[in-house]
């Protein structure tokens, strides 16, 4: 089974659909699961206890977990000093703490299989230091640091940990960003084009596959940065 957080919208939802169409068993985790037509659990990733409950349920059902995709994420394009405290906390709790919490919850299930792949999500904005995204970048830089370091702990158990760092991808996450801003970001990528959700899904499939068994502790910038 592959556990995917952020399963109701955006990249997380696209990844769930792609994996299901490829014949994988998927458990989607999201705050709102009413529209999901695949196996799912309602949970906010910033709620550690709820994640542990889901993991406990999987364990008691002898469910094998071979993949974890931490796709839950939120963004708020704003200057650091004009970002409300609550928004700052929400971004850090969802993006950074959510990634750590879900890893803590589901990693013990993966250890038992002595193989697996964890895929976390960062952003190209970390490398590009994009103005107006400092809180978001702080949370994602944390995810990158966590991924690289946790990859060492996980390697003992033949579990790989990598990060995908997309540039602008057409999802709700960038719905509030102007076309001019998006083009400016794309112009800073090595490959100056806007990639699609499908391109991210392709990379996710590669990272889940044994063919990428030599890859761990990496941050893969889509489009190059």
């Amino acid at each position: 089974m592959i556990v995917v957080t952020g399963a109701s919208r955006g990249l997380g939802n696209a990844i769930c659909k792609r994996l299901i169409s490829s014949g994988k068993e998927v458990l989607g985790i999201a705050r709102n699961i009413s529209d999901l037509d695949f196996e799912s659990e309602k949970c906010d990733v910033s709620d550690y206890e709820s994640l542990k409950e889901i993991a406990k349920k999987l364990k008691s059902n002898n469910q094998k977990v071979e993949g974890l995709i931490n796709a839950a994420g939120i963004a708020a394009m704003n200057l650091a000093i004009t970002t409300p405290k609550n928004t700052t906390e929400k971004i850090l709790k969802t993006n950074l703490m959510g990634t750590i919490y879900s890893t803590q919850a589901f990693f013990p299930l993966m250890i038992r299989e002595k193989k697996g792949s964890i895929i976390n999500f960062s952003t190209i904005a970390v490398n590009l230091s994009l103005k107006g995204e400092s809180i978001y970048v702080a949370s994602k830089a944390g995810v990158e640091g966590f991924s690289r370091t946790f990859a060492r702990e996980a390697a003992d158990f033949n579990i790989r940990v990598n990060c995908i760092a997309p540039g602008p991808i057409q999802t709700d996450l960038i719905s509030g960003v102007s076309e001019k801003q998006i083009n400016k970001i794309i112009s800073q990528q090595m490959q100056k084009k806007m990639f699609k959700q499908d391109d991210v899904c392709d990379l996710v499939e590669v990272l889940l596959d044994e063919k990428s068994k030599s890859l761990t502790g990496e941050v893969l910038n889509i489009g190059g940065a």
């Binding site: 406990k56 364990k59 008691s60 013990p108 250890i111 038992r112 003992d156 158990f157």
Partner: protein
């Protein structure tokens, strides 16, 4: 459930782990340390031991919480010795 029985089970588990790694010259007893310089198993062994105890807890209808701010402290960790780990396990069972 008593601490002495749990202690023996942990010793047995650790011995098996060491044997699997071809190590047979380390004495394992209730005072053996599980962490730090004198630790008889590595971090991978610690995690596997936690999973072993998690299964045992599940068999006994309770949840074993191995997380602790002092987990890696030589003086205060539940992993400072096999006995302290067994004591913590039984304490959580009784709570």
């Amino acid at each position: 459930m008593n601490s002495s029985d749990v202690c023996q089970e942990i010793i047995k588990f650790v011995k098996i782990k060491l044997e699997e790694e071809g190590i047979d010259d380390i004495e394992v007893n209730s005072d053996s340390s599980l962490i730090g310089d004198g630790g008889i198993i590595d971090s991978m062994g610690i995690v596997e031991l936690c999973l072993f105890l998690e299964d045992k807890a599940q068999d006994n209808d309770f949840e074993f919480d191995w997380t602790s701010d002092s987990a890696m402290s030589n003086s205060r960790s539940m992993f400072k010795s096999i006995q302290s780990l067994a004591d913590t396990f039984v304490e959580q069972f009784n709570t």
